[in-house]
Symmetry: C2
Subunit: 215 residues, 2 copies
């Protein structure tokens, strides 16, 4: 088998296995066994167990980036971009629960792997900060990055809450709640105001890839 083929196969096996059983409890021998190769092949490709996890993270990061960027093509108005981007983000997670599990359940904050995960957040933070920064009054410009970080932290906790207690919540519902909190603000939410898509936000439904409910 050729090198890139092996690499892709190993990444797929590793992602799946890590998601199922957790990074710590999975051994390199087990991954090698599942992939039907021997252990040194793994080390030849990825250098170490952490290196393997880092490679998995990078792959997921790339896909996620592409999903969000793709959804934002042609969207110029910041409010709408925020909505479209958030929905794409939550939808990606819903469609890639395995991958997402790897990212967050193995979320050590130190070491090279953590650095790769932080790159994801920085990409997202820069995007959000850009959307927010252009709208803030000049004296609040410095707040854009803090705002972005706050949004990202909120997103991640909301995903965990949804997975733990409310799997029926759609990506759109998550995004709309988040915008209720951040965009509208609690003081107005208190009076019953809600966030609503600006103008006519295009439905971000690319016709879900046909998964008919089994009888």
């Amino acid at each position: 088998m050729t090198r890139p083929e092996r690499e892709a196969q190993l990444l797929a096996v590793a992602e799946q296995t890590f998601a199922e059983r957790g990074f710590k409890t999975v051994s390199m021998d087990e991954i090698a066994e599942r992939a039907e190769i021997s252990k040194p092949v793994l080390y030849d490709h990825f250098g170490s167990k952490d290196g393997l996890l880092a490679a998995v993270v990078v792959r997921i990061r790339t896909e996620m980036r592409e999903a969000v960027d793709g959804a934002l093509v042609g969207v110029d108005e910041p409010d709408q971009a925020m909505w479209v981007g958030l929905v794409a983000y939550f939808r990606f997670i819903a469609d890639h629960l395995n991958a997402w599990s790897v990212l967050i359940t193995e979320n050590a904050l130190t070491g090279p792997v953590a650095a790769e995960v932080e790159v994801i957040r920085r990409q997202q933070a820069d995007l959000i900060a850009a959307l927010a920064g252009v709208q803030l009054p000049p004296e609040d410009a410095g707040k854009a990055h803090m705002f972005a970080e706050a949004v990202i932290g909120a997103c991640e906790r909301l995903v965990l809450l949804q997975r733990a207690t409310s799997p029926e919540l759609t990506p759109e519902a998550l995004a709309s709640n988040l915008l209720d909190f951040f965009w509208v603000g609690f003081q107005r939410l208190r009076k019953g105001e809600r966030w609503a898509p600006p103008a006519a936000a295009p439905s971000v439904e690319p016709s879900p890839p046909a998964a008919p409910a089994p009888a």
Copy 2:
């Protein structure tokens, strides 16, 4: 040495060591060496390496809880409670950077240790949800918990951002920014509005424990 004494000493050594060098890279032998005892003593007290980490987490959790609860004594008005609680939270973290590092840099989301950390979040979430819930219109009551989770995620990211790039930000500044985002809301922030302490929020300064700047 008596058992509770040993236990306290070992917890202190473990917290310090984990904070300095990271959970994974520290070995039980190293902790034993630093505490000037032999390894089986550790296992007699805590059962396993994860058990030791869990014990450290529980200790921090208790202290944190006491700090926030203490700050909230006698505060009844929800807006003010939110402010006081957030400031106490950020201040606790600023005053216990070692402990906090242990909590978040070793933040695996699976296993018993993770469960202990989640207990912290649930305590905080219940508190915030209670503060928010009583103020929301009945049809939004269900949003209180989502709101609380979002706030917690935002808090944690803000702390990381502060540590990484802006160590000069005070707990009060962090809390006030957060309330700008969540309480006032972006749409009004855009117009230059800011959050301000309700009524006259009592200064939450218990006269900082005299650390005069060295010459």
